[in-house]
């Protein structure tokens, strides 16, 4: 089981010369171990900032994040918005990177990397460099790199937002399929309502800056989520209403 997180009153200010940007908070949230949480919010609501704080890439200006379970952050998988693959490494070695960083041998790391690449449907592309792959394939490599070390916490920052609809649907399905086999606690950040409803076991809707939660709901849709089902549509519409009324009033 992945690690749970308790976020207490986290705030983040960025200082830019004269002005100060209030990017987030105060923001509080408890994430259960093993949960698949979708953070849904408009651009600039501070969701990426929150994710970076959870990953330890930023320190909060005030407030705290604590981790339940082992008590530490543990292993982190992080998938950046634009992949951020290393252009000088093959798909295989990109995925093997986190394992190598932890001290695994090349042989071990590559074998595991190949297995995970096959999980994301990229068998046969292990030796390709990022520039030889399509956008969707690159995102799949990034996904594989995020999952390869069997992380306690998997953080994804709009991983499919730069892809076309068909490809992002395909990868959302892949993501759901893979999430079943993961023990990680997943925090998936998106501004796409449909994506959140399709993936999330729990959806937190964040309002515009400085980022507070306007709706927090556990999704009861069981089993296969069918985009065409009445329940799915109903849920989608209900979140869209929340969005229109509280997040970005027209």
């Amino acid at each position: 089981m992945g690690a749970g997180m308790v976020i207490r009153g986290v705030e983040k200010h960025f200082r830019e010369k004269e002005s100060e940007l209030h990017a987030l908070g105060p923001f509080s949230l408890t994430v259960q171990p093993g949960e698949f949480l979708c953070l849904l919010g408009p651009t600039g609501c501070g969701k990426t900032t929150l994710l970076r704080i959870l990953a330890g890439l930023e320190t909060p200006s005030s407030g705290s994040v604590s981790f339940t379970g082992s008590g530490s952050r543990g292993r982190i998988g992080y998938v950046f918005q634009e992949g951020a693959l290393f252009p000088w490494l093959t798909a295989r070695d990109n995925v093997a990177f986190p394992l190598r960083a932890e001290g695994a041998s090349w042989g071990e790391a590559r074998a595991r990397a190949e297995a995970v690449l096959s999980d994301v449907g990229l068998s046969g592309f292990e030796g390709s460099f990022p520039h030889q792959l399509s956008g969707g394939m690159r995102q799949r490599v990034a996904l594989a790199r995020g999952m390869v070390s069997n992380p306690d916490i998997l953080l994804l920052d709009e991983p499919f937002s730069s892809l076309d609809t068909r490809m992002s649907h395909l990868l959302q399905e892949k993501m759901r399929e893979l999430a079943g086999g993961l023990s990680a606690t997943v925090v998936f950040v998106t501004h796409n309502i449909e994506e959140a409803v399709f993936l999330g076991h729990r959806i937190c809707v964040m309002g515009p800056r400085p980022g507070r939660i306007v709706r927090d709901e556990t999704i009861s849709l069981k089993g296969e989520r069918n985009r065409l089902s009445a329940e799915f549509t109903e849920l989608l519409l209900s979140f869209r209403r929340t969005f229109e009324e509280q997040v970005a009033p027209v």
Partner: protein
């Protein structure tokens, strides 16, 4: 300096059949101009005769081959010194703000200063110290060994010519490392050393190599000019000047051609190597 992007299957593109047209025309013109025989210009045949037997001694200065060899050896040693000093300094300046502020001004002041301007000082400081003396290889002192010809004064000015482009390009390479890539390493739990080896070096390698390329070209220009000045009696530059003094214009022309050819070979070799991706792909295999 080579900066163009290489198209697939074209290699570096330095040597192509079309590129021979103008040199061929020049030789033809040269042939026509010297056909009647002039006192000033040697004919292509005369020069070819010198080039055809590069192993023969020329006016007890050693052979063409030996002198090219000496010049190349000096460049290699000077360049290596430049790489060994410039790369870490450039890295430091790229990664560490205080170091950059401390060293940037002095680097930019020193860079435009011609290495040749330092030759007299260099000779005063290092006098006739050679690599042989430095390494304590006294048994080599009698023979005409390569190490006897590598004067530290020469190495120093080559170092001067090489080190600044290497420092600045390495610094730019390191500063240009994408923050995202460092963050990937950080969330992966990579240590400093691992991040340095597996992220910072490969990410900045294309710029580092471009600094090396620039340095090679500069060193070749500097050494030829330096050898024409006092301080040495070997090397292709020395042979060039000496053949002028004894009016062996055929040797002079042969030297110029050889210098140009070696320069072009450098350009080709470095352009081929400069495709950093190819380099890394080779490592992958």
């Amino acid at each position: 300096m080579f900066t163009g992007r290489v198209r697939k299957g074209e290699g570096s593109g330095v040597f192509s059949p079309e590129g021979l047209i103008i040199p061929a025309l020049m030789v033809a013109f040269w042939y026509m101009a010297t056909r009647g025989g002039t006192a000033l210009l040697p004919s292509p045949e005369q020069v070819l005769r010198v080039l055809a037997s590069p192993g023969d001694d020329i006016a007890s200065c050693g052979s063409l081959l030996w002198n090219i060899f000496v010049s190349l050896a000096r460049v290699v040693v000077g360049l290596l010194a430049g790489i060994l000093i410039g790369t870490p300094v450039g890295f430091l300046m790229g990664a560490h703000r205080f170091s950059r502020r401390l060293l940037f001004l002095i680097t930019e002041m020193a860079r435009p200063l011609s290495p040749l301007a330092l030759l007299p000082f260099s000779i005063i400081v290092f006098r006739d110290t050679t690599l042989t003396k430095l390494l304590g290889l006294t048994q080599l002192r009698y023979s005409r060994h390569l190490f006897n010809e590598i004067q530290l004064g020469m190495v120093f000015i080559l170092l001067w010519g090489a080190v600044f482009p290497i420092i600045l390009d390495t610094m730019h390479g390191v500063r240009g490392i994408r923050k995202r890539h460092l963050e990937v390493a950080r969330v992966s739990g990579a240590g400093r050393w691992f991040t340095f080896l597996h992220v910072m070096i490969p990410a900045s390698l294309p710029d580092i190599l471009s600094g090396y390329r620039m340095a090679v070209g500069r060193c070749w220009m500097v050494i030829i000019a330096a050898e024409m000045l006092p301080g040495t009696n070997s090397g292709i530059g020395y042979l060039l000047r000496y053949s002028y003094q004894i009016s062996r214009y055929d040797v002079m022309a042969a030297c110029v051609i050889v210098i140009a050819l070696v320069g072009a070979l450098f350009a080709k070799g470095l352009a081929d190597m400069g495709e950093a991706r190819l380099l890394l792909r080779a490592e992958e295999r």
